[in-house]
């Protein structure tokens, strides 16, 4: 069974009197452990699609299901719970919490989930920082890190709660090519190790090359579903 299923998803925004159709009826199904990219020109609806998959935004119409359970009918509390337990995000500008240390930033999703002791949270955070090769910076604050290091922390934060799906919006856009390559390699390793589903919205050719599956989005529609490997 598909872990995520989208059927005829549309999203329409109003900008003043003008109605903007961001998604025009998207159908897609994702399996557990997929490493896939959503590509397309600016304004094609990539971020909107990611937001809808992550339940940050609600579709205007259509059905989105997670493990067979329809998400549209859930209230705010249940959607927060879905995000808390099953989904993680990696952002283009990292978005670490500036007043928390690296370790505390990684602990944050566990703290929000609320089922771990302080010691357990610290152990899990340190293990994840070890995995992304930045354990020595655990006590530092985000302002003391480089962009590449910050994105590693963001990846550690996204993976620490062992989510089913990681949604990454242009994760390499603010990095130089060397750091971007490192980050892609890291995410791919994590994907292989934990079988976490990764979905990127990206313009980055490196990600497109590494992705097993690429959705080509144009004017709010998936025009091509490119499966490179099974």
């Amino acid at each position: 069974m598909a872990i995520l299923s989208l059927s005829k998803i549309t999203k329409t925004y109003r900008k003043g009197d003008i109605e903007v159709k961001a998604l025009g009826g998207v159908d897609l199904e994702l399996e557990k452990g997929e490493f896939c990219a959503i590509v397309g020109p600016s304004g094609s609806g990539k971020t909107t699609l990611l937001n809808i998959i992550g339940c940050l935004d609600k579709p205007s119409s259509g059905i989105i299901s997670y493990q067979g359970k329809e998400l549209k009918i859930l209230g705010e509390k249940e959607l927060s719970e879905y995000r808390r337990e099953h989904v993680s995000f990696i952002f283009q500008s990292f978005n670490l919490i500036p007043v928390l240390t690296v370790a505390e930033n990684v602990e944050l999703p566990l703290s929000i989930e609320g089922s771990f002791s302080k010691t357990q949270m610290r152990q899990k955070a340190m293990a994840m920082l070890e995995a992304v090769g930045i354990a020595d910076k655990a006590g530092r604050y985000p302002r003391e890190l480089s962009g590449g290091q910050e994105q590693r922390v963001a990846i550690a934060r996204a993976l620490v709660k062992e989510p089913s799906v990681v949604l990454a919006d242009e994760p390499t856009a603010n990095l130089d090519s060397h750091n971007a390559e490192e980050i892609i390699r890291l995410m791919k390793a994590m994907n292989e190790k934990s079988q976490t589903t990764f979905i990127f919205s990206t313009h980055d050719k490196m990600i497109m090359e590494e992705a097993f599956r690429v959705f080509h989005l144009h004017d709010g529609l998936i025009v091509k579903d490119e499966r490179k490997r099974l």
Partner: protein, 420 residues
């Protein structure tokens, strides 16, 4: 989760310490001043009532109903009958009470060049100290001697100063006698009294009943019987006890009016209440400014962290969590400001209790009427006000923070994440 929220909130308060400090400082000044003013007002009440009880009005004063009606003109008529029996009956009804007679009269005091209006009192030197503290206020000279032929009187320090007189000088007094004829006589100033009650200090003259009868007439009546009751530390209780005792006396004696200190101080207490209302209004305005400051501080915090709010929501925090986060920030600023206010207020109260506020010096020896200012205005410790001020500051901050916190909670996640 709560620990994480507190940790983030605390660190943001510290991180933006300048704006946090400004809001906390306004709160500190507002609450600190509230604590201090309340202490000063309580001290003023205590000093005023002390002065009235100790020098003029006692715990209560007993007089005939007719005298009560005319008391403002201090007539030498409508006196009490069977004063000794009345005193004994009061002592029987109120076992801890002590009594002394007093007959006030209007007079003029002169140094033979200038003449000033004076407030005379015929007193019983042997029992006066059982009720009043006049004997402790001798500045120069001495209390009445045992020899009545000496024609001794005691006068207030300011009256002596205004007439250029000192102890052992002779003073000319004139007054209407009981038969309404005018009499004048010379008296030797045995002692000068420095009385905290400014009106007595400026015009008070005290003579024994023996002297007063020679001066005003042999039939000089006892017009008032002053009664001292045990004085509890709590002012409200003292006023209540006085009222209750006055009621007992009036109930037991027909045609008698017992004027309690609560009644005698009525004008002062009404004036004090009005002052307290104005003070409260000023404090309220200061706290309103503090509240606006806190709203502004938290609002700035919300606007500078919109993206952070988006991330927290994306990771599963609900609107309620976000509201709580910013409410905690307001609460922390309130705790800091109110704690500092408690320290500032305590310091000012300690200073006023220990040293007294030299308010007379500030106002160039201004006559404050019944409020005794001689040794400076001393505050009083009011733990209840301190706790109230602290809790009020914290609660006001928390409530103020809820306005921007609600705004933060309403932010759409996608808009927050898009915010640059």
């Amino acid at each position: 989760m709560t620990r994480t929220l507190i940790s983030i909130a605390f660190r943001n308060v510290v991180r933006h310490w300048r704006r946090s400090l400004i809001s906390a400082t306004v709160l500190t000044v507002g609450i600190g001043m509230f604590i201090f003013f309340d202490s000063v007002l309580a001290g003023m009440d205590r000093m005023t009532i002390d002065s009235m009880v100790q020098f003029n009005d006692a715990s209560l004063k007993v007089m005939t109903s007719e005298y009560y009606e005319n008391r403002r003109t201090m007539p030498l008529s409508h006196g009490l009958e069977r004063t000794a029996e009345l005193a004994a009956e009061i002592a029987a009804a109120l076992p801890e009470a002590t009594t002394t007679p007093r007959t006030p009269f209007m007079a003029f005091a002169s140094n033979r060049i200038d003449s000033l209006p004076a407030l005379g009192y015929a007193i019983d030197p042997s029992t006066d100290s059982l009720v009043f503290k006049l004997e402790n206020q001798i500045d120069t000279g001495s209390w009445f001697s045992a020899a009545p032929e000496e024609k001794e009187i005691l006068i207030g320090k300011l009256l002596a100063r205004d007439l250029g007189l000192k102890e052992n000088d002779w003073i000319l007094l004139s007054a209407r006698m009981t038969d309404d004829s005018l009499n004048a006589d010379e008296y030797k100033i045995a002692g000068i009294l420095d009385i905290p009650d400014m009106s007595l200090n400026e015009s008070g003259i005290f003579m024994s009943y023996a002297e007063a009868k020679q001066f005003l007439g042999d039939d000089l009546p006892v017009t008032t019987l002053a009664v001292a009751l045990p004085r509890p530390a709590n002012l409200s209780k003292e006023l209540g006890d006085s009222l209750a005792s006055a009621a007992i006396i009036e109930k037991n004696h027909e045609g008698i009016r017992a004027v309690s200190i609560a009644e005698a101080a009525n004008d002062y207490l009404a004036m004090r209440d009005m002052k307290a209302k104005y003070s409260s209004l000023i404090i309220f305005i200061v706290l309103l400014i503090a509240g606006v400051g806190i709203v502004n501080t938290i609002l700035m915090s919300v606007y500078s962290r919109i993206k952070e709010i988006g991330v927290l929501r994306a990771y599963g925090m609900t609107s309620a969590h976000i509201r709580r986060l910013f409410s905690i920030e307001g609460l922390l600023i309130g705790l800091i400001g109110s704690s500092a206010a408690l320290a500032l207020g305590s310091l000012l109260v300690w200073w006023s209790v220990r040293s007294g506020i030299p308010i007379g010096d500030y106002f160039g020896g201004l006559d404050m009427g019944v409020i005794p200012m001689g040794d400076g205005l001393r505050g009083e410790w009011h733990p209840g006000t301190m706790v109230f001020g602290f809790l009020f500051g914290v609660a006001a901050s928390w409530i103020s923070a809820r306005i921007p916190a609600a705004k933060a909670g309403k932010l759409e996640v996608t808009e927050a994440l898009r915010f640059v």
